[in-house]
């Protein structure tokens, strides 16, 4: 077990840190959705890399192969990607509605408007 044998986790963690930083730091709501997508992809990579087996091939039966990668994470991530795009579209729809109501998609400005006591006109 060498020190370098966990590099897949390090890549995942690096991507996850970037996604988290975008979500925390950027005020723009659309930016936050992009950050969430990056975060999501890091989780996908984590699952797939757990399921990968050295020297194996893709989990479709074929003559001459006996080692296959673990199909279970693939199934989970397959559904997760499509659900991810559905939820992303929902988030984008919310952004469009927020923009119509507040005329901005900047988080600070939205909070400033709310604290002004201005009534919601949704």
């Amino acid at each position: 077990m060498s020190w370098f044998s966990h590099y897949n986790y390090w890549i995942v963690i690096f991507l996850m840190m970037i996604g988290l930083y975008i979500v925390i730091c950027r005020d723009n709501l659309a930016r936050k959705v992009i950050g969430l997508n990056v975060f999501q992809t890091s989780v996908f990579v984590l699952f797939i890399s757990i399921g990968a087996v050295r020297g194996a091939t893709a989990p479709i039966l074929a003559a001459g192969f006996t080692e296959y990668a673990n199909p279970l994470p693939h199934v989970l991530i397959l559904t997760a990607i499509v659900v991810g795009v559905a939820t992303t579209s929902l988030a984008l729809a919310l952004i469009v509605r927020i923009n119509e109501a507040y005329e901005t998609i900047d988080e600070d400005q939205i909070q400033a408007m709310d604290s002004d006591g201005k009534p919601w006109n949704i």
Partner: protein, 174 residues
């Protein structure tokens, strides 16, 4: 390379450019999934990431005025960076307990996966294990996922489907 794209995604300024870079990002992750033998996942990511997500982002961008993107440069904020760094450090420390990359003896590969690999052909007659597991063994999961997608579609239709009506100068919905 994926990481470099992510860094650029962090630093880039315009929203339009950022939405195009998400296209590249999903494209590179597709190649990564092919490399890791996850063919079905790569297929999905290629279809979804390049086609749907880009189009949806652009459609969203065309509905919001471009001035709402304050032309701010990448401003460095130390406290969130520290928090993120701390989280990452803890996670790196935690990976020392994780199994090695590609280890056939990893716990995730020992529990039910051999059963799927060996018996799915016999029990369902399908060479593609992913489809077999997706549709047959984990049918409940898939039913739930389809329900989630359906619900998201209904939600988007509820949020955006109506024509906007104006009453007394205020935008009133529903």
């Amino acid at each position: 390379m994926l990481a470099a794209t992510a860094v650029a995604l962090l630093c880039v300024r315009g929203l339009f450019v950022a939405s195009m870079l998400t296209g590249i990002y999903s494209l590179l992750s597709t190649a990564l999934f092919v490399l890791l033998d996850a063919v079905d996942v790569a297929f999905t990511e290629a279809a979804v990431g390049a086609g749907i997500t880009t189009v949806l982002f652009l459609a969203m961008l065309s509905k919001i005025p471009s001035r709402s993107e304050r032309s701010q440069a990448f401003n460095f904020q130390p406290l969130p960076f520290l928090v993120v760094l701390l989280t990452g450090g803890i996670l790196v420390y935690a990976t020392q307990d994780m199994p090695e990359f590609g280890d056939p003896k990893a716990p995730a590969n020992l529990h039910v996966a051999p059963k799927y690999i060996i018996e799915s052909e016999k029990e369902t007659g399908l060479p593609n294990m992913v489809t077999a597991v997706l549709a047959s063994y984990r049918g409940y999961d898939t039913l739930g996922e389809v329900t989630v997608i359906f619900t998201a579609g209904v939600g988007v239709l509820l949020l955006l489907g109506r024509k906007r009506r104006r009453v007394l100068g205020e935008s009133v919905e529903e």
